[in-house]
């Protein structure tokens, strides 16, 4: 059996730094199928997670999802060539409406979380998910409550980028991707979470 990981650059190798999903696979002594793409958003995560599982229905023992920033609008130039528009760069000139940008981002992300969770459960595939980048927005809507009640979601209100910046566990001042210490820490916490969830 294999572990499937899908996310953004926070789940990818970065020169010598090995991501949390690779550390987890090694500790669980299972091969890793890592389909994460640097710079991409959550549409890529849904699409490529579902594709991997539909194409390999009996391959995966665990799925790891690291949610990306919902301000990334994914697009393709070829079937496997993904890019993303960063909406923060373009939204100011894209509409004259008085947009609530933060709430808009939440409303893109929240249904994706619920749909992927339900879909993975319907396939009986164990999974855990967490926020690599900032996704959560405080609120009291029914979708807020639903997300907080997902047992497989590791701390929906926090995210890896905020945690590593608080601990100053970045690669360099110019590169705020997690360093090895941060990845090792998150790998351990996620392994503990997974063990408790699926004991």
């Amino acid at each position: 059996m294999t572990i499937l990981a899908v996310g953004c650059s926070f789940l990818c190798d970065r020169s010598e730094v090995r991501p949390q999903c690779a550390v987890m696979a090694e500790r669980l002594d299972q091969p890793l199928d890592n389909r994460s793409i640097p710079g991409n958003g959550n549409t890529h995560i849904l699409y490529n997670t579902m594709t991997a599982i539909i194409e390999n229905p009996n391959k995966y023992s665990l799925v790891l999802i690291g949610w990306s920033n919902p301000g990334r609008w994914d697009f393709v130039t070829a079937p496997h060539k993904w890019f993303a528009l960063k909406m923060g760069n373009v939204i100011g000139t894209a509409t004259d409406k008085k947009i609530n940008f933060e709430l808009t981002l939440f409303k893109h992300w929240a249904p994706q979380v619920l749909l992927l969770s339900s879909w993975l459960r319907s396939r009986n595939i164990p999974f855990i998910m967490w926020n690599s980048l900032e996704c959560w927005l405080e609120g009291e809507s029914t979708l807020h409550k639903e997300i907080l009640s997902i047992p497989e979601f590791y701390k929906p209100k926090i995210n890896h980028i905020a945690d590593l910046r608080e601990r100053e566990q970045w690669i360099s001042n110019d590169d705020h991707h997690p360093n090895q210490q941060s990845h090792d820490l998150w790998a351990q916490e996620l392994l503990d979470f997974n063990r408790t969830l699926y004991k």
Binding site: K86, G88, G92, F101, L133, E134, I161
Partner: protein, 38 residues
């Protein structure tokens, strides 16, 4: 009628203010998560 004309004339100013407010909010998001732009 006069108030409608004043409202119409002030449209560019209101939109400029909206764009500035949006830019400030996005800058706040960028401070917390720089990858919103990367």
């Amino acid at each position: 009628m006069v108030s409608k004309i004043i409202y119409w004339l002030s449209t560019p100013w209101r939109r400029y203010q909206q764009r500035r407010a949006l830019a400030r909010r996005i800058e706040e998001l960028r401070k917390r998560d720089p990858f919103i732009y990367k």
